[in-house]
């Protein structure tokens, strides 16, 4: 039997090879359980809501050409579409934020980075959800000082 040996180039070092293992204190509770169930339930509801939304906005009636300030205002004049869009907004934001939270937990290795990414994530969640909710309930298709060429035709009437 013959053998040869070659020295290969050194690669990246193993991170902290001799470091002692530290298991943090237990973090028991039902939060992750409810979050897991919520992701599945909201996913199913969102699937229905989003395709209804796409169909009503882009396909039904005059289709995509009908979309303008007036179309949106018309929809939100009805409490039914206000509730539908509100539910869709909140479910989508909670579902997406929770998904991003688990991705941050899975991929960010350092606690500091994890914390800052989550602060950024939750800030984005609050800003978008509050603004979105506000718009759904206070949408005005004819803002007072907007240029006339950007407004729908019925505003001047």
């Amino acid at each position: 039997m013959t053998t040869t040996q070659t020295q290969a180039a050194a690669q990246l070092p193993i991170e902290n090879p001799g470091e002692a293992y530290k298991r943090r204190k237990t973090t028991r509770g039902n939060f992750e359980l409810y979050s897991w169930v919520f992701m599945r339930a909201s996913g199913v509801v969102l699937l229905v809501l989003i395709f209804v939304h796409l169909f009503v906005n882009l396909v039904a009636g005059e289709g995509i050409t009908a979309i303008d300030f007036g179309f949106v205002a018309g929809k939100w004049a009805s409490p039914f579409w206000q509730v539908i869009d509100l539910v869709m907004l909140w479910l989508a934001m909670l579902h997406g934020t929770n998904g991003m939270r688990t991705i941050v937990n899975d991929y960010a290795e350092r606690d500091g980075l994890r914390m800052w990414l989550k602060i950024a994530l939750y800030t984005a969640f609050v800003v978008v959800t509050v603004l979105g909710t506000l718009v759904i309930f206070t949408f005005d298709p004819c803002p007072a000082d907007a240029p006339a060429n950007l407004l729908p035709s019925f505003c001047t009437a």
Binding site: T4, Y21, R24, T27, G29, N30, L33
Partner: protein, 264 residues
């Protein structure tokens, strides 16, 4: 095929192997190159490095046999764990060509000997030396799920009987040999090592669904943790890595379902 033969015969040096022997009844052999990730802080500093060894192997040889050849005949400093060498003790789990396998259950002929075979220590566990990792994080979460029979009430005067169906319920998860191939194949475990890991959940499953055991509620409580079953992303790395063929992802799912049934 002819080009391959030409390359083999025209290659200079002593690496001719036993192919040239050609005696009657001789077992065919081939050369394999092992590319081993080594780490020996006493002699080579704190950097891990790759080292290649070429050994002659036979069709019936496993990777463990090649590692033995290197350790016994070439470089005695090569360090790896092995005990029974027959796939039962679970000592020689390692990363072979990027997949967690037992070195004693992988045949060299199945690994494409044309290319160097990558051999690395298990990922996500601290490396002690060469292919030996510190198993403590793995056993720490194993201990936490209390892998022993918990019973209440009076001691029975005879054996705790169980029907064949009741035994069948958790049969799959009794097969675990604690080799850590599953836990160290899990990307969630790689992140910070806080996740309980597939092996701990499999061994909890073995008792949770045992009709003789009364500790299911406690074990479900322990695994209903931020670092428990809910960190499983169902990517099936563990099921693919298990040398005993345990359906690990399914076991984790069954534990999740038991928790949800308990909570609602």
């Amino acid at each position: 095929m002819s080009t391959l033969m030409e390359n083999t015969t025209s290659s200079p040096g002593p690496e001719t192997g036993a192919e040239t022997g050609g005696g009657m009844g001789e077992i065919p052999s081939f050369d394999v190159t092992l590319r081993i990730r080594r780490y020996s802080p006493e002699t080579h500093g704190d950097e891990a490095y790759w080292q290649e060894f070429t050994v002659t192997a036979y069709g019936t040889d496993r990777l463990l046999d090649a590692l033995h050849k290197v350790k016994w005949d070439v470089d005695g400093s090569l360090t790896f764990r092995r005990s029974c060498a027959h796939g039962v003790c679970g000592s020689d789990a390692m990363r072979i060509n990027g997949r967690n396998r037992l070195a004693c259950k992988v045949l060299l002929k199945d690994l494409n000997p044309d290319k160097p075979i990558l051999v690395e220590p298990l990922k996500g566990l601290p490396v002690k030396k060469d292919l030996v990792v510190d198993m403590e994080p793995f056993f720490a979460s194993y201990r936490e799920i209390m892998p022993f029979l918990i019973t209440g009430g009076n001691e029975p005067t005879r054996e705790r009987l169980q029907s064949a169906e009741q035994r069948e319920r958790f049969d799959d998860t009794t097969k675990c040999i604690l080799c850590a191939a599953c836990t160290s194949s899990c990307p969630v475990f790689w992140t910070d090592g806080q996740y309980f890991g597939p092996a701990a959940i499999v061994n909890a499953h073995r008792f949770i669904f045992d009709s003789r055991d009364d500790g299911a509620a406690q074990r479900l409580e322990i695994l209903n943790d931020k670092e428990g079953v809910w960190r499983c992303r169902t990517i099936f790395n563990c099921s693919e890595a298990c040398p005993r063929g345990i359906e690990i992802t399914k076991a984790i799912k069954e534990v999740k379902r038991a928790m949800i049934t308990r909570a609602f």
